[in-house]
Symmetry: C2
Subunit: 340 residues, 2 copies
DNA sequence: GATTTTTTGATTTACGTACATCAAAATTGG
DNA sequence: CCAATTTTGATGTACGTAAATCAAAAAATC
C-alpha cells in the first residue's frame, strides 16, 4: 500500500496539519520541522494521490489554446480535436478555451499572451509564430510559472516546457529520401510548394529536405520554393504555372492548401509520371493518395497533439512527470496501403 | 458543474441509498423505482466520477499479461514496457502480473487461460497464438465477463474486446509497395524471411505483401518463404544460404530474429545492391538502417501497445468508452531520417 | 520572567462515491 | 386484517487529501 499523509505525519513525528502545511507550502512551519517532514516524504516515497487531492480541491484545469485563424483542412482538424477534448472536459476536469489570432501575425499573438497573465489559466498551448517578440512573451509567462507547450510549430530557444508536434527537420529529410528513392535513377527537377517561409515548421521541413537532397540525390535539382500561403487557390495557380516546366519529375508539398495542388496535378500532369509527396492527411490528400495522384503523405496526428498537450499541461500544473515516449509526436508516413 | 448522486436522488424523488442501489446493481429496488432513477440519470447526464469511486472503493485493477517466452528483441522490449507500466502501478491503481507461456503452443496458452477464471483479474491481455482452442478459451472468458485484449497478434473471429496491435495485412502491403517503389524498374527475386507461418501476424504480413507484389510489381518474383522461427541463428543460416542465389535484389524480413539477417547481409552481400525492409526497430535494426544495410523498418511501438492495452482494459472494467483514435496502434515507418 | 509572536496540534468539514446498518414504510400472502 | 416480506429511507463511516479554526505549546523579544 502506498503511504498516506497520516504515515508521513507519524514518521516525521508531527501532526497532520503540519504535513499539510508542508505539502501545500503554507506558511507557519519552522525550517527544521519542514525538513523532518520532507525527509519522511522522501524516505517513505510518498506521492500525493492526485485523484483524491483534485476531489478535495474541486480542482479543474482551465486551459487556453491559441490557434491561428487559418482556413485550411489541417487547422480545421486541429479545431475539431480540441472540440472533442472539450466534450471530455468533465471527465478530465479540464476547462478549455480556444482563442483565434490572425495567422502570421506576431504582434497579435503577443497581445493575446499578455492578456493571459491576468486570466490565470493553469496551462497554455499555442501554435507559435516564430518571432523574437513571441519568444519574449512566452518566456515572460513561463517565468510567471504558467505551464506552456507549443503546438504543431515550435518556438526554439524559448523556455516553453514542451513541444507537441513533429520534428519538422526529420520530416523534410524523410520526404527527400522517399522522393529520391521512389525516383530511383531518374534525373530531373523537383518543385517545392510551401505555405510561407515565415513559419518555422515550413522552414525546417525545407531545410531537412534540401539537406538530404544535396547529400544523397545530386541528380535531382530543387527549383525555387513556391509560397502558396497555405491557400488552395494560390497553390493551384503556382503549381499550374510551374508544371509548364517539362523537366519537373517530382513535387514536395510541405504545407497546407493541397486542394489546389491536387487540382493542378490533375489538370496538367495526367500524361506525365510525377512523384508527389505531400504533408497532412485530409479528405483531399487521402483521395489523391488512393487515385495515385500523390505517392506518399507525411502526417502529424492532430488528435495526438491535442491530447498530448493537455496531458503535459496538466502534469506540469501538478508538478508531475510525463511519460516522455508517450508524448513524442511521431511522423506518420502513409502510403495507400496503410491508411487508417 | 456535473451532477452528483445527490442530484439524481433529488430529481428521481428517492433517497441516496436507492440511487446507490441502482448504480451498483444491488438488489432490493422495485422495477418502477429503478426506472425512475435510470431516467433521472439519463436526463441529467450523470456520469459516475471514477476517481471518487475508486477512492471510495480502494479499487485497484489486477491485470494479467500473457506473453510467449521468446528470446528476441521485440519480446524483450515488450517486457520492458510492461515493467515500466508496473512502476506506474501505484499512480494508475493497477496491479500487473505477467505470465510467460511457451511460444507457438496453443495448449499451454489455453491451460493458463483456464487457470485465470479462478484468479479473477479485472482484465487480461495476451499475445495470442492463433488456434481454435485458444479462440474458444478466450470466448469462454469473455462470456464470464473478463475484459480481454489481444496484443501484437490478433485473434480474429474471437470475442476479445479489443486488439492492441498493428494491422498486419496493411503492414505487409506497405512493405511490398516500399520495396517495389525503391527497386523501381529493376527485375529480380525477393527473399522473404518470416518467423513462423503458425502465428497470425506473420501470415497476415505475408498475405498483404504477396497481394501487392502480385497486383503492382509483376517484375518482382517472391521466393519461397524462409521460416527462421524468430531465431537469429536460424535466420542467419537461411539467409546466408539463400543469398547464394544471385537473382535476389530485395529482402523482406517480416518477423523477429533480425540479428541473424543483418549478419548474413554483411557477410554475403557487401558487393551487391540489395533493398531490404525489416520489421521491428531494435538496437540491431536501427544500426543496420543507419549503415544502409536496411532501407526501411516497419515498427509497432511496444510502449504504445502496452499503455493502450492497460487503458482499454481499465475502461472496459469500468464499463467506460475508449477514445478509438487514441487506441489505434499505428504502423511506424522508419527511414534513417526519422528515427526517434 | 512576563509578554508577544511564531509554530504546532487537534479537530472538523468537505469533495463524490461506496457500502453497511437499522428502522420505517409499502407491498404481498394467507 | 394481520403477519411476513420486500422495498425504501436515514444515517454513518470510509477513502486520501485540502482547508479552515482554535487552542496549546514553543520560541523569541524585552
Amino acid at each position: 500500500m502506498r503511504p498516506t499523509v497520516h504515515d508521513i505525519a507519524a514518521a516525521a513525528g508531527v501532526s497532520l496539519a503540519t504535513v499539510d502545511r508542508v505539502l501545500n507550502q503554507r506558511p507557519g512551519v519552522r525550517h527544521v520541522t519542514r525538513e523532518k517532514v520532507e525527509t519522511a516524504i522522501r524516505e517513505l516515497g510518498y506521492v500525493r494521490d492526485v485523484a483524491a487531492a483534485n476531489l478535495a480541491k474541486g480542482r479543474t484545469y482551465p486551459l487556453v489554446f491559441i490557434l491561428p485563424a487559418s482556413d485550411n483542412s489541417f487547422m480545421h482538424g486541429l479545431n475539431a480535436e480540441i472540440r472533442q477534448a472539450v466534450l471530455r472536459s468533465s471527465a478530465e476536469r479540464t476547462d478549455i478555451r480556444t482563442i483565434e489570432v490572425p495567422a502570421f501575425d506576431p504582434a497579435a499573438l503577443v497581445a493575446v499572451l499578455e492578456g493571459l497573465s491576468r486570466e490565470k489559466p493553469c496551462g497554455i498551448a499555442l501554435v507559435a509564430t516564430d518571432a523574437p517578440e513571441v519568444r519574449a512573451a512566452v518566456d515572460r509567462l513561463v517565468r510567471e510559472r504558467f505551464p506552456i507547450v507549443s503546438l504543431v510549430s515550435d518556438l526554439t530557444g524559448s523556455l516553453r516546457h514542451h513541444y507537441a508536434g513533429v520534428d519538422n527537420i526529420a520530416a523534410g529529410r524523410t520526404a527527400a529520401r522517399l522522393l529520391g528513392r521512389f525516383l530511383g535513377p531518374r534525373k530531373g527537377e523537383i518543385a517545392v510548394l510551401a505555405g510561407s517561409m515565415l513559419v518555422r515548421d515550413h522552414r525546417e521541413r525545407l531545410e531537412g529536405f534540401t539537406a538530404v537532397m544535396a547529400e544523397e540525390f545530386p541528380d535531382l535539382a530543387i527549383l525555387p520554393v513556391l509560397e502558396g500561403r497555405d491557400d488552395p487557390e494560390v497553390a493551384h495557380r503556382l503549381v499550374a504555372d510551374a508544371l509548364g516546366n517539362a523537366g519537373i519529375i517530382g513535387v514536395y508539398s510541405l504545407g497546407a492548401g493541397n486542394r489546389g495542388l491536387i487540382r493542378a496535378l490533375k489538370e496538367k500532369a495526367v500524361d506525365r509520371v510525377l512523384t508527389v509527396i505531400a504533408h497532412e492527411l485530409t479528405a483531399h490528400t487521402r483521395a489523391a493518395l488512393i487515385d495515385n495522384t500523390i505517392d506518399a503523405i507525411l502526417n502529424q496526428d492532430a488528435g495526438h497533439e491535442v491530447r498530448s498537450a493537455i496531458r503535459v499541461l496538466k502534469a506540469k500544473a501538478d508538478g508531475l512527470a510525463v511519460i516522455e515516449a508517450q508524448e513524442r509526436i511521431r511522423l506518420d508516413i502513409f502510403l495507400k496501403d496503410n491508411l487508417p
